[in-house]
């Protein structure tokens, strides 16, 4: 994914601000990356290079940490982040069916963003609400006991209309 010059500038600026409050110890690497992600929603390459310079380590070290941990996103997320729980309880209660529904409705795969950048889709391992399985988390709000119909309903609440009788399997609904 290509970042615009504007996005790069914002990323650098924000990263710079964050780095000011951290000493140059390697142990700060993960907290810094977390801060960057919290501010920007993701960790762009330019930010990683900046962090490497600050800590005095090769950029590849930063890159290897950012890619090792599941939490870090390397591309900007959608405006709404949809995370489908794939923990044990959710899986046994049909979590994969729910994930398929989201994929079908959004027309994207896991770890992708819709072309209009409205939605991104991720899987998470257990958010600790197993008693409400299957669970989908949208923008930090936990939705329990999700069904395929509920998926449509939730999308509807974000203004996405699912035209009846038109969509074919795997086809994006809103954004063409």
């Amino acid at each position: 994914m290509h970042l615009t010059e504007g996005e790069k500038r914002v990323a650098l600026e924000q990263t710079g601000n964050i780095l000011e409050s951290y000493s140059r110890e390697r142990g700060n690497l993960i907290p810094i990356l977390q801060q960057v992600q919290e501010k920007l929603g993701y960790v762009p390459l330019v930010a990683m290079e900046e962090v490497a310079r600050h800590l005095g380590i090769p950029p590849v070290d930063v890159y290897s940490v950012a890619t090792f941990y599941n939490q870090f996103r390397l591309i900007p997320p959608g405006k709404h982040q949809i995370k489908v729980c794939m923990g044990t309880a959710c899986h046994m209660k049909g979590g994969n069916i729910i994930l398929d529904c989201w994929k079908r409705r959004l027309g994207i795969d896991v770890n992708e963003v819709t072309p209009d950048r409205e939605f991104s889709l991720e899987r998470v391992a257990c958010v600790g609400c197993c008693t409400m399985a299957p669970v989908t988390v949208i923008d930090e709000e936990v939705h329990g006991k999700v069904t395929p119909t509920r998926v449509d309903g939730l999308l509807f609440s974000f203004g996405v209309k699912i035209p009846k009788g038109q969509q074919k399997e795997g086809e994006a609904v809103e954004q063409q």
Binding site: V65, C126, V142
Partner: protein, 636 residues
């Protein structure tokens, strides 16, 4: 005055102040709303809002508190009402309507709305109490005792109910006494392996070095476990006190909470707890005037399961990828930044104040000789009362599933219980009467693990669950050991083929062989235990594997590729349209006999029609193997 009496006196003042604050809550009606993550997912924040609005509207003077999780997650949102003249009563499945009635009729009038009551919190002659139910007789809350009854964000509540007294007590004794007491209690680590906590502390205490650390492991990565989250959200001070006592015992001046990224509310509440403890003089320099100094920070994990392993956890705190290291040296002698470090699980630390307060002997009175104390389980899956339960070690699985969990929903039959997450195993019906403790579980091929317990019924496929766990461990393998990285991949490929009906004769034997190799060739617990779910399901449910391989059939009707949805023409009510509207891909059409038919080419197997078909018809069924649909079609 010597330092012991300074500590005692300072703490007594703190206690007095807290008790006054706690007592003042009882002057007027008090409403507790459970707003841990489970409650929030069920809508507790809306209930909280309604209650506040209603109180305002009716001009009723009552106090409203947000509390944590009482363990009855199945009945969320949960509200508890204390009204002078009545026993404290908990209400379950609270809707906005019920919340309104509680305010108007119970607080405004004198009708306790018993039709919505779950149970009373104390015995009385009006409402059955929690302890009157079979569940209440089996449960023995030690570390969950205050969860859901106090506001986790108010340190006074915890102190008023006896909190931090153990820390104050420990500070008046020698650190060696604390270590001895924990050793004598027989406390074993609740993070999975059950290592004796006292011995770990002693090693760290005796390790040479000025600087030492203590870390609370709150990474809780097992997908299906939520005990640690619930404790941190409901009573963070208990764990913080345990950590401070550990620090005093081993001689550490700095501690950390390592909390999973997926638990934002736990992070927030722990941070608040640390701040409050600092202000109360229970953390920081010269704690309670004892001369002992200790402080705590929070480190957030970044979503890697392997970082629950202690050496990987340390690596990630040092800014490295979370790769486990060889042990020995164990962290207790060379851990974080090379210094002696004690790492304990959330629950392990939560027991510590109770043991210091009431004594090692008291702790040993509960549980079994080899595993003293209680075990906290998170019940999920196909069980009626999902939630948290704390029971003495040695309780049987049957008691847990049927008495605590109230059995299997929808009249289905029990098939297995998956214990210990990705490192654990599946135990069949025959194991239900086994008393659970660290040793009996590993003998049966499972593991205590973290305490996650997922109950499976006849609709759950055992090959699929083995595949699920292996898929998880395979993705989470850090990649350092070849066997763990590639052996699990190969096992997963075989399992995937089996669940798709492409299994071959000899696959089971190959899986068993690979399992041994992966166990032997892996450095850390992740790889060493990854094959367990496969091994235990083959051991107890081999016939299911064989049905998949030989007949291309999934007996539990779960494996997507081996089933088809089918509408029984003789049962379809013809004029009913329920399934048609429910189908997200318009796969259901009406044939010339006005019977509904599923277009198998279009069907994405989402189960919506099965749910939608009214229970009096039950016309939608699953068939396995899918070829049965064509066969039926010919017969008609």
């Amino acid at each position: 005055m010597n330092s012991s009496s300074i500590v005692a006196e300072t703490f007594a003042k703190l206690q007095q102040k807290s008790r006054t604050a706690w007592q003042s809550l009882r002057d007027r009606p008090l409403i507790l709303v459970g707003t841990a993550t489970c409650g929030r997912a069920a809508g507790a924040l809306e209930i909280l809002k309604v209650i506040k609005e209603e109180l305002e509207k009716h001009g009723i003077d009552a106090q409203v508190l947000e509390v944590g999780c009482m363990g009855h997650c199945y009945a969320e949102p949960l509200v508890t009402v204390y009204k002078p003249g009545f026993p404290p009563i908990s209400y379950g499945y609270v809707t906005e309507g019920i919340a309104g009635r509680l305010v108007q009729d119970f607080l405004g009038g004198d009708d306790p709305c018993l039709e919505f009551a779950l149970a009373a919190l104390e015995t009385n002659d009006m409402v059955p109490a929690l302890t009157d139910f079979p569940r209440g007789m089996i449960e023995k809350p030690i570390i969950l005792d205050k969860c859901g009854l106090i506001d986790p964000e108010q340190i006074e509540h915890y102190i008023a109910l006896g909190g931090y007294a153990a820390q104050a007590r420990a500070l008046t004794r020698e650190p060696e006494w604390v270590v001895e007491e924990i050793k004598a209690s027989g406390l074993r680590g609740r993070g999975g392996a059950g290592f004796p906590t006292g011995r770990k502390w002693e090693t760290c205490r005796l390790a040479p070095g000025e600087k030492k650390y203590v870390i609370c492991n709150a990474d809780e990565g097992d997908p299906g476990a939520f005990m640690d989250r619930a404790i941190l959200e409901s009573n963070p001070h208990e764990v913080l006190e345990g950590l401070a006592i550990a620090a005093y015992a081993v001689g550490a001046r700095q501690g950390y909470f390592y909390i999973r990224a997926e638990y934002p509310l736990a992070v927030e509440r722990v941070k608040k707890a640390i701040e409050q403890a600092r202000q109360a003089g229970l953390l920081g320099t010269n704690i309670l005037g004892s001369g002992f100094s200790f402080d705590v920070d929070v480190f957030q994990g970044s979503g890697a399961f392997v970082c629950g392993e202690e050496t990987a956890l340390i690596a990630s705190m040092e800014g490295e990828p979370g790769l486990p290291r060889h042990r020995p040296p164990f962290p207790a002698t060379a851990g974080l930044r090379g210094r002696p470090t004690v790492i304990n699980n959330v629950k392990t630390l939560a027991y510590v104040p109770h043991i210091i307060e009431r004594g090692a002997q008291w702790f040993r009175e509960t549980g079994t000789a080899g595993s003293p104390g209680t075990a906290v389980f998170a019940l999920a899956g196909k069980v009626i009362n999902t939630g948290l339960a704390e029971v003495p070690m040695g309780t049987t699985l049957r008691q847990l599933v049927y008495d605590v969990g109230s059995g299997i929903p929808k009249g289905k039959s029990f098939k297995a219980v998956q214990i210990g997450g990705p490192s654990g195993g599946c135990l069949p019906e025959a194991a239900l009467d086994m008393p659970i403790d660290f040793d009996s579980l590993s003998q049966a091929g499972a593991m205590m693990g973290s305490g996650g317990m997922v109950i499976l019924d006849e609709d759950d496929c055992m090959v699929e669950i083995a595949r699920f766990f292996l898929d998880f461990t395979q993705k989470e393998s850090c990649g350092k050991c070849t066997m763990c990285r590639l052996g699990t991949r190969q096992m997963l490929d075989i399992l995937e083929a089996i669940t798709k009906g492409q299994g071959k004769p000899g696959d089971i034997e190959l899986l068993l062989e690979l399992a041994e190799d992966v166990k032997a060739g892996s450095l850390c617990g992740l790889g060493k235990t990854a094959p367990n779910p496969v091994l235990s399901t083959i051991r107890y449910f081999r016939d299911e594997y064989e049905a998949h391989i030989k007949e291309r059939r999934c007996p539990a009707l779960m494996c997507q590729e081996l089933i088809a949805y089918y509408i029984l023409p003789e049962k379809c009510e013809r004029s009913c349209d329920a399934c048609v509207g429910s189908c997200p891909v318009e796969a259901i059409y009406t044939n010339e006999d006005r019977v509904k038919v599923i277009d198998q080419q279009k069907c994405v197997k989402c189960a919506s029609c099965l749910e939608a078909c009214p229970p009096q018809y039950k016309a939608v069924v699953k068939l396995s193997p899918p070829e049965l649909v064509a066969e039926r079609g010919r017969k008609v």
